[in-house]
């Protein structure tokens, strides 16, 4: 049963149209919402939360209409905004407890769950210091904690990796994956960075200029092309020759060699060829389509 459903959802502002007859369905799992800045991702989330009214069209969350049953939806939803939203003079614990109370948890449950959640997102002694002194990574964790503390059925994360360094990004992505895999909470995560969503989403929705470009599962996007890419440190020609004489069709793609991956024997052949030539094997990976390729595909005018 789809968790989120929109039907011809439109949102017009005086100057621009943020969403244009968007119709999507989101199943439980991790759903990535991709689009450039200004594509309409944040607007969609705000409409789903009832923070902003749609100009036309319908949207429902858990089967409840967003305009009529807003409060009931908001009881079961967590929201992590893109912008800074944390007061500087309270500690993380105080703040998350307060937010838990604002979500309807009784005082004791609020305190208990806050302690749990802060541990899950990775805030330990820091949680007692004022938020004003936190690093960006810690602040993002607090934002995530307040979205999760009331055990929602779905969380909407708006650009959660903004401002994080590469290690912080990885940590956040892993955490997001855990939210679905271990906590069982559906995640709607937006980003303008395609590479990240590849790694963690089950389903990807691509929006551009408020219209839907593509909506399909990640595995479809990144079908293995059944090819093997290798890159060696030297003597690429010699290695290619060895492999060709072993019966494989070798294509040269710049510094890389592309081999058809028919069975596991190919790995053995590569290993032997490389060892025989005495060179280093720099890269050995399966060739895949990347999400970025769809933009190339679909910007040719192929719409929904």
């Amino acid at each position: 049963m789809p968790v989120i459903q929109t039907e011809e959802l439109t949102k017009r502002f005086p100057a621009t149209t943020a969403l244009d007859r968007l119709s999507i369905e989101v199943e439980p799992g991790v759903v990535g919402l991709v689009g450039a800045n200004g594509a309409g991702k944040s607007t969609l989330i705000k409409i789903l939360l009832g923070l902003s009214p749609a100009t036309s069209g319908r949207a429902s969350v858990f089967g409840l209409d967003v305009t009529e049953d807003g409060p009931q939806i908001r009881e079961r939803v967590g929201y992590m905004p893109e912008h800074d939203c944390l007061p500087g003079d309270v500690s993380a614990t105080e703040f998350v407890v307060h937010m838990a109370r604002m979500s309807g948890l009784p005082p004791d449950a609020a305190r208990e769950r806050t302690a749990d959640i802060l541990r899950h997102v990775g805030l330990y002694e820091e949680r007692y210091r004022p938020i004003g002194g936190y690093s960006t990574g810690m602040k993002q964790r607090v934002k995530l904690a307040q979205a999760l503390v009331h055990d929602p059925e779905i969380v909407m994360l708006d650009e959660p990796t903004n401002g994080l360094d590469p290690v912080g990004r990885d940590d956040m992505l892993l955490l997001i994956r855990r939210i679905w895999a271990e906590f069982g909470i559906t995640v709607l995560v937006t980003s303008h960075l395609l590479g990240e969503l590849e790694r963690i989403s089950d389903h990807v929705v691509v929006i551009d200029g408020g219209t839907l470009l593509r909506s399909s599962s990640t595995s479809e996007f990144t079908r293995t092309s059944q090819t093997l890419l290798i890159e060696v440190s030297a003597e690429a020609d010699a290695v290619a020759a060895t492999l060709t004489s072993a019966g494989l069709t070798v294509k040269r793609d710049g510094a890389q060699l592309v081999l058809p991956l028919d069975d596991d024997e190919v790995y053995d052949l590569v290993r032997d060829a490389v060892a025989a030539e005495g060179v280093g094997l720099i890269r050995l990976e399966q060739g895949r389509h990347h999400i970025s390729e769809i933009f190339g595909e679909d910007q040719g005018g192929v719409g929904r």
Binding site: S42, K46, L49, L51, S52, P71, Q72, R74, E75, V77, Y79, P81, E82, H83, D84, C85, L86, P87, G88, D89, V90, E94, H98, M99, R101, M102, S103, G104, L105, P106, A109, R113, D116, R119, H120, V121, G122, L123, Y124, E125, E126, G137, M138, Q146, H150, D151, V167, D171, L174, L175, R178, E182, F183, G184
Partner: protein, 297 residues
């Protein structure tokens, strides 16, 4: 709890929440309680407590002195040196400072740090937020006004002044204090909601309150005593919140007037009542309007 470097996610297992989820009404009450405590600095840093507690003390001190004086002179004077209902006007500057300091403290934080969307993405409507904040500050101001009155009451009882009369006067004064609280809290919040800068909010509130009071009182004085037109002076009292509610109190609750000129006649009295309620209604409407427009980014 084991100490781990913050990069590592600790896996103890996630627990679902099956407990009660309190609805809008309870959540609004929780925000009300939180804001009320915040108005007196409870639940915040030690420095936040200093000003409100100090003001509470300064507010109560004259009442304490009055109580003592009453006990000493009760045989001679047979009553309180200052009627209950006049206390608020006498201590108006302190009330004004409390309002100017705490109204922005209540609202500016959420506006400045853009925490407001987090509230509205929860089962809380905009009007609930406004109700909680308004109610909390009005209650805080009411408490500020009530404490000295209670001190004076106890002093009066100890001086063996007639209990029935004192209780009656006290209750009327409390009613007046309630109206003062609601009107002033409303005005303070409306001004505070217009700016995320706390300092400017404080200055704007005090300017509106102090300047209006000074200007209206001066004008009233001149018009009443130099020109001799007590009625016009009375009408002028509508233009400042302090004289407005004092006029309301004088006419509706039969209190002794602290203003230069009371509401002129029955027509004046009715107008004062209408304007008082109109001001409260306008504050409520403006606050709701303001929070509907808060940019939800």
């Amino acid at each position: 709890m084991t100490e781990q470097p913050s990069g590592v996610i600790h896996d103890i297992g996630y627990r679902k929440y099956d407990g009660p989820r309190l609805g809008r009404a309870r959540v609004t009450r929780a925000l009300y309680a939180h804001s009320l405590r915040g108005a007196y600095g409870l639940g915040r840093s030690a420095r936040a407590k200093v000003l409100p507690m100090l003001l509470l003390g300064v507010m109560a001190l004259p009442a304490f002195i009055i109580a003592v004086i009453t006990n000493v002179t009760s045989d001679i004077t047979g009553g309180l040196p200052l009627p209950y209902s006049r206390y608020v006007m006498v201590t108006m500057p302190i009330l004004a400072i409390f309002l100017a300091a705490q109204a922005p403290a209540s609202l500016s934080r959420d506006l400045r740090f853009k925490t407001v969307p987090l509230y509205f993405s929860r089962p809380m409507e905009r009007s609930d937020y406004v109700l909680a904040k308004y109610g909390a500050l009005a209650t805080a101001v009411f408490l500020l006004l009530t404490l000295p009155l209670l001190i004076m009451y106890v002093g009066a009882l100890l001086a063996e002044l007639p209990a029935g009369e004192q209780t009656g006067d006290l209750l009327l004064a409390l009613l007046g204090a309630a109206v003062f609280a609601v009107v002033f809290a409303g005005i303070g919040l409306v001004i505070a909601s217009l700016t995320p800068r706390r300092g400017f909010g404080v200055a704007a509130i005090i300017t509106v309150l102090a300047l209006s009071f000074a200007a209206v009182s001066a004008l009233q004085g001149i018009i009443r005593y130099e020109v001799g037109d007590a009625d016009l002076a009375g009408w002028l009292g509508l233009l400042s919140p302090a004289t407005l509610v004092d006029g309301f109190q004088t006419w509706v609750l039969d209190a002794s007037s602290s203003s230069v000129a009371p509401p002129p006649g029955a027509a004046g009295g009715v107008v004062y009542v209408l304007v008082t309620f109109a001001v409260i209604g306008a504050c409520w409407a403006l606050l709701n309007l303001r929070y509907r427009k808060v940019a939800v980014s």
